[in-house]
Symmetry: D2
């Protein structure tokens, strides 16, 4: 079985694991006050080009990070604007609404919303006579990379930021797959940090067993540890996240670190797979540069792949085709990619006639 | 520095860590559907004497487990009854109320509530003409061991269960320190499982990096995975909890397992410490048989211990004394206990006169 | 000034007021347990062709009624499906989300959603592999008449009901303007009652000072008075709503009642106004048969009407035109309609040239 | 039947009703923007000795007012401190918790808490090392008069205010029965307004059909209309509350107004009843100076009163006695009081022997 179902199928990166082993016997205070957690937060600041004014918190999961950040950044009368395909809109079981907040969904295009689209929405909303009867837009949620594997270019982000600033909204970026985005896009982490009011730097999908760093470049809302606790998200052994992020972000001699290497590797594997599949005539639902790609297969072809490769169902564009998601990670090897390409070539090469013959 | 501040200062037990290392390279599906998680849940069932009718879920933290369980077990009109010293009453930053539920607090005695006390409260409440204007008691929350290190005896629990049944309430037991309770009390795990509608079997304080097993002996409420996700508690790499619980609960040849051994060790270390301190004339705020003990020190003595041993402040019974909590864990060594006893002896031996003389 | 801004600009209908005066001196128990409230609920049942199995509750306002009904009808994992123009989607300040529930918005067409559209959405949603990560659709919210003054025909409602039943959803109808819908549509109240799991029979916009009747044809969820109280919606002097609904629904000799008369009058006045405006060449944004009409005016014309007639701004279809809402009620007189038509005729008759000349 | 069950058994005061009739035909804008509502808010300001910096909102009910005020005055990490007998603690079905807020209950004494008790609680709480794991006290809720009919004296209130200020808490007073408190206590309304961050001036129990004025002497939190709407508490025909409060607070020639007269009358009737009952040897559970009194009756005596007078059950101090609440209002007549006294005299005069003889 070849595994391309998701980028959270592996354990943690061996270097992360090694660090967990090295530090395991230390006796340390809890709730993120240990030296490893403090150092990890400092390493996040450094990677983001931020100083002591920035606050960093280490949390367990991505939905948790989104919900905790959104709830903290909104005033009581505000809601969060997001693409209809955004993780908070669609795949978090209403966790944002569960804490009393409305997601104001905008139609997406390749997983993204545009600055013009956002401005038009905000202009209409804030100009409405009935605005006191409506949820005020208070924050824009973007995922970077998006759920469709796409990226906002630097100038797209800057334009969205400008609209947010003009209308008094904050900007939050869900960086569950941030390392891969940084490896593929035209944006450096300090640039992202300057554009956002808060963002997450995801560990779970990039080398950790679990863990997301939540960054507030200009400082976090008051009593943030209490906020996390009230959201039932405070880890007793915060060290477990701290040690992992230390391993991810510690500079090696060459000014590089594990986090960047993981992002580059996953991106490279996805690029190779995209090229191999394209060469076989496979088309894609969207042109995604990062570690998630979305090939379109005839259902019959997919059936023949079934049991030999794992993928995620994405959507059915018509009655006889299916879009699937294939994801790569730090654990994907070049030989896995080649094996998948070879398998797809074999299945597609059989052609419709052979296919019909092959089924009872 | 001697560390007795809490039972979550260590990493995970070496045998747990070893298992994480062994399984790290496996590629597995997410969200707790992997074979390790499934097996871990089966091992929990077996340890509890439960069959397939029981549901088990692995979650990250204790507050999260309490909130998710309580919210799932209550009807909309109901609240949870707890001792005023209960973790959900006092030390979860209002996480239960944050999800819309009231904690109905009863006065505690050594961290416990009594069956008679509960019955009297319920009788008055359900007999009140205004009951539709009041929160209906729907669930009793007990911690076992309690926050004061005490244990409900089997017959105390049975009596509380009887009252719950009589009034139509459910019973939930917070087993954050369950292994230690089982090592010290007169109750076997299958007996506990029969008495409860749900309970947690805590890993964080008993050998895991993180992780709590939530057990529903008669089956969980519908769509429980969705419930966890809505509470932002679903782990992408659920395997990380699964592997740890496998390590904890797998039977060794002798019908024993790591979880029981950890519980017995922490209990034995606490017992030894209690004996050593008692021999030095130290008194205790409460007679706690488990891994948390609560000695009373003169403030001046405590000051001299400061910087040489870590503890948790608990309360001030008067202006010149302080109750602290000392906790043991799987990582506490007999030599640590002896060193602490010796240190306390030294400090107390100085006497008030010496003490006064010794300070500038 | 001519008033067409809304249908809640008047006080209560004189016959309702008279009844409030007649009963004012009675000393009665509170919270809706008085004989007037009980009788009002019986009159609602009778008007709906329902027997003792149905439950009726009298509440103060429309948003309150929607939120209380939706929260009661949803399981924890469910959300409410509504048109994007639905009152709960747009104009209730996120009150539904504030209680933890997601509104799953479907694109609207003239204020309505279609059975086919709903079925396609539900099929995709319930067929999704990730459905445990998504909010389950549990209830469909329809407003009847809609916020655009339109009506679902009987067969449209029946088709929506069928889809709900097929997928296990409940159906709730917001009848804030129900009397007017019944006066204009092809649906009798008992037919509506058979199609819904719950609906409101609005008083505020149809002759009351305040008050909505919430009807559960097959009975309400358990402890519903407690549910209302928890939502802070229980009126101490419930009699005030009871007496008003008694006045609205008590049969006169001729098998008619005030509620129907109010609905017919408002509808007739709106019809007359629509005819008069159409005869002047005014076009409408939507063909609405009920007491809300949506003429499109050139902005210059609207400016000349300003200060002489009150309306509600609705939307701007382009840079130089505006859609406004004109609403009639029991208090609208034929002479008001004729005066408005005459005023509009005067303003439109001036023509663009005159208009330009008339402005400095 | 003599009615002393509550002070919301009557309709509205005839002068209030008259004003509703006089203004009923006016066509007015909704949601509290009409001239009557605006003037009513001004009259509230004047009565409180407040200027334009103060904000006043008119709401429908008491629980709603409490919940909306408390939620608005608390930061996310804060909860509300209240006596265990407080309305928000006990008789609002968990409406405060339903919006995510914890009620931190302090033991009550005659319905009150003391400044020393509050200071001790706050000192311990804010001094606790674990305070980030606990709900921060952010607001003190007092009812004035209390649920036990008692009053905080001016200096008691001032002392509580001082503690609030010292620890950074706000102070909210639930004035559901404010007029009666002002008639009995040593406090003038402007003095109360100076001591509070917010308070309610109750109409429902003092002459209105419904309606509470919520006063923020130093101005309300931002977007308060949106806040009310999100809590589902915005009245479409806000005029209905406005007109009633106009009638209550408009000055007559003599510098008096209906609201004060209603408070004085209810207080006088309660005083008379208390004297009459005391003269018959009846004792009281608490010495309450306002319109709620709490006589203790032998159960056998109460049984003989049953069906002839209505009361509210309060509590059972022992197996053979019951405390009931008797309440007076603007509608209580002196002859009702005398009739009740005479009835009680008759019942008590029968004596235990007669009583035994009189029962089969």
């Amino acid at each position: 079985m070849l595994h391309f179902m998701s980028d959270y199928m592996d354990g943690c990166h061996p270097e992360v694991l090694e660090r967990l082993c090295q530090t395991n016997a230390e006796l340390l205070p809890g709730y993120g006050t240990d030296p490893h957690s403090l150092r990890a937060c400092d390493l996040v600041r450094q990677a983001c080009g931020l100083g002591g004014e920035a606050d960093v918190f280490l949390l367990a999961g991505g939905t948790q990070t989104n919900v905790i950040a959104i709830d903290a950044l909104l005033a009581p009368w505000e809601g969060v604007v997001a693409a209809s395909s955004g993780h908070v809109s669609l795949h978090e079981a209403g966790a944002v609404e569960f804490t009393g907040r409305k997601v104001l969904e905008l139609p997406q295009r390749e997983g993204k919303i545009g600055a013009g689209q956002l401005a038009a929405f905000l202009e209409a909303r804030f100009g409405d006579e009935n605005r006191e009867h409506m949820v005020y837009p208070g924050l824009v949620y973007l995922s970077w990379p998006t759920e469709w594997g796409t990226l906002y270019a630097k100038e797209e982000l800057a334009a969205l930021r400008e609209v947010c600033t003009r209308f008094g909204l904050r900007l939050y970026v869900d960086g569950a797959r941030l390392a891969c985005g940084l490896a593929c896009g035209d944006l450096a982490l300090p640039e992202l940090a300057r554009l956002c009011d808060a963002f997450s730097l995801g560990g779970t999908k990039q080398g950790c067993l679990f863990g997301e760093a939540l960054v507030f470049p200009q400082g976090a809302p008051a009593h943030f540890a209490n906020h996390i606790k009230r959201h039932a998200g405070l880890l007793a052994k915060g060290r477990a996240a701290g040690v992992q992020f230390e391993a991810l972000l510690e500079a090696d001699g060459a000014g590089d670190c594990l986090y960047w290497r993981i992002g580059r590797h996953a991106a490279a594997m996805a690029r190779l797979l995209r090229e191999r599949l394209a060469a076989l005539g496979v088309t894609f639902a969207v042109d995604s540069p990062t570690n998630q790609i979305f090939p379109v297969f005839e259902d019959a072809a997919l059936e023949r792949l079934s049991g030999r490769v794992s993928w995620s169902f994405w959507e059915k564009p018509d009655a006889s085709h299916t879009v699937v998601r294939l994801a790569t990670s730090w654990a994907t090897r070049q030989e896995d990619v080649e094996a998948l390409a070879s398998l797809v070539g074999e299945v597609l090469g059989q052609g419709p006639a052979a296919r019909q013959g092959g089924r009872p």
